[in-house]
């Protein structure tokens, strides 16, 4: 099954088997945001702890909880590895680059995005051939985006 091998690469299965940064953070102080894919019922929770403020805010810790398929779970696991310790601006650039790799056309890339290193996330390229699964791959990222927005602009 050559198509499937491209989708279920070893590194993806590894993250699925042994998800990184799985668990919870106390909220508050961490920001907790739930994301779901209403089509399949997958649920993911991102716990995000930023430190610093404004342009200097960076990810001090991040944890993932919830249930999902191998693609959504491994993508979220890889995401935590990539964003840990990074500044918000860098994370947004990775997110744009990742979503544009997924072929999401409404993503406006910015200068320099092409240089962004996706690390393990490159392995998810195979998802492109399975359009139904793109939603799975970006579920964690969309939830993270909400968490970043909320952490930077906490509700009154």
């Amino acid at each position: 099954m050559p198509g499937l091998e491209e989708l279920y690469r070893e590194i993806i299965l590894d993250h699925y088997r042994s998800p990184r940064n799985r668990g919870e953070l106390d909220s508050p102080p961490a920001t907790k945001v739930d994301g779901q894919n209403p089509l399949c019922g997958d649920e993911i929770t991102v716990y995000l702890q930023l430190e610093g403020s404004g342009d200097n805010a960076f990810v001090a810790d991040v944890k993932i909880a919830g249930q999902g398929c191998s693609i959504s779970q491994s993508s979220a696991s890889m995401m935590t590895g990539v964003i840990m310790g990074k500044k918000v601006g860098e994370i947004r650039a990775v997110s744009r680059r990742f979503k544009s790799m997924m072929g999401l056309e409404d993503i406006e890339t910015e200068a320099g995005d092409g240089e962004v290193d996706l690390g393990d996330l490159e392995a998810l390229q195979g998802v492109m051939k399975f359009p139904v699964r793109i939603k799975c791959a970006v579920l964690g990222w969309n939830t993270l985006t909400s968490a970043l927005d909320e952490a930077l602009n906490p509700p009154e």
Binding site: Y8, D42, S70, Q73, R133
Partner: protein
């Protein structure tokens, strides 16, 4: 001219031929039944009637379609009838006086006759066409519900309902404080009726599925309708999954309102049905306003047309109605009783095969007794996520659904986020079930860790 009389489906094994001097439209005509065919359920001959199942290939292989609980494939006759209708008969209905429009109107009304016959409705006028079964359920909740339910009134549902039989009632609950009670499930996925009287005490409505789209469970519909009436409640049946696979008799059920759809029974999308007792439909206010549903309109107001037009605002699904008639005649030609028998045998085979090949690695939800379940198999396979299971099955062209099946509350009861669901119809056979099992072996291999 338009002919409603179908050729015998089992032409390969049956000598029956439709008469050539059939009148163009015969609304009250009985569909011919072939006694020989009724005894021989030839899946290959049936599948040969479905172009998509025989001709469409992906990766040079045919499709193993196990998603009929979602929607069914379409037989050639339905496709041809709709094409021919558009080529020769299509025109507006109920409003223009030229002969062509008359023919189109007769065809549209012919579908009402076919539906009435299919479910043994006492009157053709009790058949209301909607966009789909979901719209029919919304019609019930929004028309009957708004006219009859207020703060504290009780609607009883079951824990195995499709969202279409949950959300419209929850909208009423939000809008006017209606209380919803739930009939629970037994460990094997049947309704727990031990406290039914208590749940129905003071209830105004009991609304339930005649066959669960997740568990396959077929509850005792007659008993439930009788219990609802004994409690003074309206009996509403979501028969979407039931009608395509079983002989349906709404009068024997004793139901008040019944919703079902065309696309799950070999007919086209875009048309659904509501059947109701005339005195109930007659007393209900209109649902959607517009053309066709009125008697008179002035600057001051309107009066409604009689049922069923009262509930059919705007130009309806005319072409789809012609296709629906063809679908019903197709099913009647084979016999709903025969379809049910075939599916019971295949359901037994599927349950046994999955158990034999995967033992404790697979959990198939719902009752084991095929007398009380239809051909829907929702399962958990090892600890694999349904999306991954369906992805691997798709590699061998086995089409199943992964997800919550529009029954999220039930998923919570089953303590899962999602299941993989295979569902059968008259065109499936044991080889399809074997292909499903083979595909699951493949999933085992990829995710073996």
């Amino acid at each position: 001219m338009w002919s409603w009389l179908p050729p015998c489906l089992m032409s390969t094994i049956c000598t029956f031929e439709p008469s050539s001097d059939v009148p163009s439209v015969q609304l009250e005509k009985q569909v011919p039944r072939c006694r020989r065919c009724a005894e021989v359920f030839d899946v290959d001959a049936i599948r040969a009637e479905f172009p998509l199942l025989t001709d469409r290939t992906i990766d040079d292989a045919r499709l193993i379609y196990l998603d009929s609980g979602n929607t069914s494939q379409k037989p050639r006759r339905v496709i041809e009838v709709m094409t021919t209708f558009m080529e020769k008969t299509y025109a507006p209905i109920n409003r223009s006086s030229y002969r062509l429009a008359g023919e189109a109107t007769e065809a549209y009304e012919g579908a009402r006759h076919a539906v009435a016959r299919l479910i043994n409705a006492p009157s053709v006028d009790e058949i209301v066409f909607t966009k789909n079964a979901t719209e029919a359920m919304n019609l019930i909740a929004m028309s009957w519900g708004r006219a009859n339910l207020g703060v504290g009134d009780v609607v009883v549902l079951t824990q195995m309902e499709h969202h279409a039989n949950i959300v419209p009632w929850q909208m009423l609950a939000q809008e006017r404080g209606v209380e919803i009670r739930w009939i629970g499930l037994t460990a094997d996925g049947q309704l727990n009726l031990s406290n039914l009287d208590q749940l129905l005490d003071g209830a105004k409505v009991l609304s339930f599925t005649a066959m669960s789209n997740v568990l396959g469970t077929i509850p005792p519909t007659e008993q439930l309708c009788a219990a609802a009436h004994a409690a003074g409640a309206l009996a509403v049946v979501d028969a979407c999954q039931y009608v395509p696979h079983n002989v349906t008799d709404v009068q024997a059920w004793g139901a008040d309102l019944v919703a079902f759809s065309s696309h799950k029974m070999c007919g086209p999308t875009g048309i659904g049905m509501l059947w109701g007792k005339m005195e109930i439909l007659d007393a209900m206010p209109p649902f959607l306003g517009g053309g066709n549903m009125i008697d008179a309109v002035t600057y001051d107001g309107f009066t409604t047309a009689p049922v069923p037009a009262k509930f059919e605002a705007g130009t309806p699904a005319i072409i789809e109605a012609a296709g629906l008639t063809a679908a019903i005649e197709f099913l009647e030609g084979i016999g709903l009783h025969n379809i049910r028998q075939h599916e019971m045998q295949l359901t037994r085979y599927a349950l046994d095969t999955l158990k034999r090949r995967f033992g404790d690695e697979i959990t198939v939800y719902g009752p084991d007794n095929v007398e009380v379940r239809g051909g829907v198999f929702s399962f958990a396979f090892r600890d694999l996520h349904p999306h991954d299971v369906s992805q691997v099955l798709d590699e061998s062209n086995v089409c199943v659904r992964a997800g919550h099946h529009c029954a999220k509350p039930l998923m919570k009861t089953l303590k899962v986020n999602a299941t993989t669901r295979a569902s059968i119809y008259l065109y499936n056979d044991e080889a399809d079930i074997d292909a499903l099992a083979d595909g699951l072996e493949g999933a085992s291999d990829i995710f073996s860790f």
